[in-house]
Symmetry: C3
Subunit: 272 residues, 3 copies
């Protein structure tokens, strides 16, 4: 399928010429494409961050887009480079777990290892496959080549272990992402809270324990509480989120990815 839209997600930053070099390579092969930056601020070599990032944006794109993702600590080693079709979406990325969370939401339709020399730069460096292999492959895919020509089919893309919440009398989860506002996104899905019978409207209030703080203020959105207040809410991605109104919960709580979060029921009659 021909495309005129290639998106870029990397951990390169833009003070170095790496992203710009990729753009030049892509446009040299496929001069017609629109290149769209998704992010170049994925923390260096942070594959999990990249996986969360992709799960939070790729589903919103039209299938036409070709997404190139370069967070690649294993560049030049034996890790594979992949063309993947995940649900309706097409991604070109190293096989290091970046697609983990997308693959929980969409089936893997097909994937190919990118090996065909025709679809690379003539000289391939050992340390910059974004420029020399992934970018060119995306440009050729945008031009409409048959993806099966990129290389052999792959059935087992690597997946990162995903921390699952433990559900008992309390729900024990973790912070899995900190956004740019310092909001703490956890792995505790809204449905899990509902299954546990938590229902603020009925006085069955979920109470959150995090970083030795007890958070019982449950809001629909930030502006319902006062600046500086710590609140619990359902994030725009459907997960339990801890936020500080007009502040940074991450900073205030010294919390980050991996910080344990506990949710339990408390009865309003207990005098909250």
């Amino acid at each position: 399928m021909h495309s005129d839209l290639i998106t870029l997600t990397t951990d390169f930053g833009t003070a170095s010429p790496y992203v710009a070099a990729m753009k030049g390579v892509i446009l040299s092969i496929a001069p017609h494409v629109r290149i769209l930056d998704l992010s170049h601020d994925i923390p260096a070599q942070d594959i999990w961050h990249g996986a969360f990032f992709l799960a939070g944006c790729v589903p919103y794109f039209p299938p036409e887009a070709v997404h190139v993702v370069v967070v690649d600590p294993g560049v030049g080693t034996e890790r594979r480079l992949l063309y993947t079709e995940i649900g309706p979406h097409r991604l070109i990325l190293p096989d290091n777990g970046l697609a983990t969370l997308l693959l929980r939401r969409f089936p893997l339709r097909r994937a190919f290892q990118i090996l065909e020399p025709r679809y690379r730069l003539p000289v391939v460096s050992n340390t910059f496959h974004g420029r020399d292999i992934l970018g060119p492959a995306a440009a050729h895919v945008a031009l409409g080549i048959e993806p099966a020509h990129l290389g052999p089919q792959v059935h087992d893309p690597y997946r990162l272990p995903v921390p699952e919440p433990q559900v008992g009398e309390t729900i024990r989860g973790k912070v899995i992402f900190v956004d740019g506002f310092g909001n703490l996104i956890t792995n505790i899905e809204q449905s899990l809270l509902e299954q546990a019978g938590m229902d603020p409207k009925a006085g069955r209030v979920p109470v959150v324990l995090i970083a030795a703080r007890r958070i019982a203020r449950w809001v629909r959105t930030y502006g319902e509480a006062k600046p500086g207040e710590l609140v619990a809410l359902i994030s725009s991605s459907g997960y339990l989120e801890i936020a500080e109104v007009q502040g940074s919960a991450a900073r205030t709580l010294s919390a980050g990815r991996g910080t344990p979060v506990e949710v339990s029921l408390e009865n309003r009659t207990n005098g909250i």
Copy 2:
């Protein structure tokens, strides 16, 4: 009016998937548009910064552009979301004062509250209206829908109070913006200096007092003084600016938004 150009200005940063999700939503509705990033580095929830930013760039755009702005500490509360026509420019933004400075330069031609469910995502979150309402509205406007169909007309967009300089024997103003070089832009317009009879060419030298420092070196541009020197000049937006040549006046003076600035006349014959 049909458009193929949507610009984005947010305080999201790009390490989180929020901006990318908005781009996907827009392209899913209006696949033909060019999306242009203006900034995702507006400081978190800093409406004034956003207002100054917009006043410094939107006037340079062709009327064709549809500008989406998301600096929205009140997301999900009762603040309105607006489609606005301000002079020849079209902006889609929360009604929290972001248009304040543009509205001092251009008349409000018309504005509508964005309420029509047809022009939103089917499910609207409480915390991410950029993705769920503002982005989709912009995409539909770019497709050429009649803006009046978005919702009821609005005549009173919210405006931030704007600090005005006090003019007497001296002019008392404030720093209202610090740019990326650490240059301090004040609210003292060039015309005000002229009205006060300040005229460096005639030896009537305006002297600036800021952060307990006296700055009498007045230049047309940075390169006229030596690296490290503190200078006063007229900024590219027409306001009094305090700069350090090849350095950061903000850092050197520990000055920032709100720092008082005083300008008074001094006679060259006084031995400056």
Copy 3:
């Protein structure tokens, strides 16, 4: 030559409205162009950084692109503004050395000083020529004007002095660029190591001395060594690079641009 692609490289950051204003100006003159951000994170007024950046990405672009570069500490002084054709590439930039490294790789085909008032904004500020002169010139070039109409021909663009490695029993060079991962790129080219008879495969191992550390671990790519290890390798641009695997060599070694680097031969039989 008509073009629909203008790239932007600046040291403005994007928290200030400067880059966005340039985009507006360009689109007002040449509404059809695709604007592509290369970087707005060149460190403030760091011409050398800009020169290295351009040498690392411009060669990958198709000749169609018009590259606008604004790192301009001398804005408003007598430094010239240039339209240049360097090899097949077209750049519009201040004449302050930004093209130095590109000019070592490609011949200067022709250059013109940008003086023609027709191709500027009607009012030109003293401190923002990116918006008032360079952006408009690029837009007019993209529209297909004859570049010779911009102003008089220039034969002697300014070039920065380039630090050359000294070659004797040891090779003495310098770090000339630190990338976003903290990798240290030196001015010691791969061919120089080969000329000096260094050949790891034959046991003739180049040993690197930097910041009082001796680095003898030579890899093809980062993933060949353990996280935290300091390694030497050939960068994707063909120069000796010092890296810390999954870390920052710049931070670990407190090294940066200008840090001396020494390479000498050591015999494997010495018990390395």
